[in-house]
Amino acid sequence: MKLLTANFLTCAVKGCKAAASSYPLHFKDAELELQEIDFQPEFIHNIIPRIDWEGLRVMANELGFPKIPDLKPEGDALNDEQTMRDLHRVLLETHVMEGRLCCGNCGHEYMIKEGIANFLLPSHLV
């Protein structure tokens, strides 16, 4: 699972959606892998405005990443190639291969295996 995808995810339990603590989900025992893919600046440019920056900072910090800039790049900063490449690496090339995603509100944990997360809920949480 890429950090880009994780940025758009919250707890699947309906009762958690309104709770601020359900976002972002927290990685636990995460095993990371770097998988290089083509640099597509057009995509990064398009997607940055839709990223929850605070969520990304929290996740990157929990995964022990070098510091993500305090503020979301906007305007001219979006044309800086190095900034774009750094974000490409964090959002698209970093994969969580094994581990768990944990809800800060209800504590439910979603398993990640072979890079694929499972968000199916047991029936008592539906």
Binding site: M1, K2, L4, T5, F8, L9, T10, C11, A12, V13, K14, K17, Y23, I37, D38, Q40, E42, F43, H45, N46, I47, R50, D52, L92, E109, Y110, E114, G115, I116, A117, N118, F119, L120, L121, P122, S123, H124, V126
Partner: protein, 486 residues
Amino acid sequence: MEYLIRFAQVHESFRQPEIQALADLAGIDLEFIYYDKYSPFCVIRVPDEAAARTLIARSILAKDIFELWGYGTNLEEVHADVRRRTTEARWADFRTDSFRFTVDSFAGKRSNDKKREIIQSFSFLGFQGPIRLKNPDQDFWVLEDYGWDVAAADAATATGAAAVTPEGRSSSSTPILRPVPEGQEPKRIWFGRWLANSSRDVINKYDLKKRRYISTTSMDAELTLITANMAHAAPGRLFYDPFVGTGSFLVAMGHFGALNFGSDIDGRSFRGKEMIERGGTMGVLANFQQYAIAGRFLDVFSSDLTNTPLRAQPFLDGIVCDPPYGVREGLRVLGRREGLRNEEVIIDGVPAHLRPGYIAPKKPYGFEAMQNDILDFAARTLVIGGRMCMWMPTANDEDLELDTPMHPNLEVLSVSVQPFYNWSRRLITYRRLPEGQVWDVSKGRSRLDSEGVYADELNSFRKKYFTKNPQYDNKEPRSGSATPAS
């Protein structure tokens, strides 16, 4: 300027919406001057040649596009129209270029002698350059439409004769179409200068027969590519398929440059046998690798759209889906059937859902309830102007317009129908409206699924499908009082 599109004579109700979607995508001002569902030829007006080339470049249902030089119901009219539309100065532009003339007859035939005669009749254009049959500088076409014999066909349908479409498929709603007998004259003739081919040859590249990972529910290459055009898949954009399966839609969007992710309630569907049994590459990713577009694949995960983990905020450029109908694939969401116990299950002191190999229980779900969930999801997650393409089935006797699912935040852009023997499926294209604009949903479906427990009670399409196709329904009746099936 007027241009002539030559379409493939397939998926007729998708042809205009596809061209319109491509015009919207490129910001081209498009007007249809002539269109007939029984004809491959269509005349449009766009500002210039560059626009015409851009418009056709991604099209799957068009074959090619021509600069229109003349039109008529016979050759004399065409000649006169050529003189009216173009000038001698224009002809002089091509005077010394190498060139070729071709006569193309739709639903009719011409002898070689007659073709030569037709070509010679254009000698007034005064081209002096060499004739070159391969890669000429200028490629001129005489395009004749003899017209399907639609009137006779309608009469035959009215008398109850079995109907066969041009593709050889039997259909209750399509009249018999036959080419006109030889020796007749065409109904319409166009003359044009060839400009550019479409992307129709891409269908072959994505042919399911040559794809690494498919299943019974994979959608064919042509329809997925058309869907990607309608959904405005393009470089830099983010797309999502909530019923990803083998990823056939994602691959088509990837072809057009979009980045994609998907989910499915059944994780086996996107993993595939290779990964599950032999620890090989995940099925959907293997398909992206096969076409050398792995950089446009983001992620897949197991989830249920009705209990989605995706945040309710606009972040998707597009959604494309072919939700389960409940015929080949069961229509299920997470949860237990009413009346079954619903508390947490503990096995050996460990919650069952934390043990390895846990499978979340699922219950049957309403066909219309599912569609409403999809529309609500789209309204929440699409960016303004973002599109959703949703396929849905319908029995052939249902009213087309009344049954289209609608949402106040989603404009219905087009509804295209692919008919089968006794059912059809429709591709509905929606656009997320800006806040403050509301789509009139009064023409939409207001009916809701009745309370039900079994698949047939929840799914009016499934019920109709099996009622009309009793040979497929081999199951014993569920009610104890019924007599066993013979």
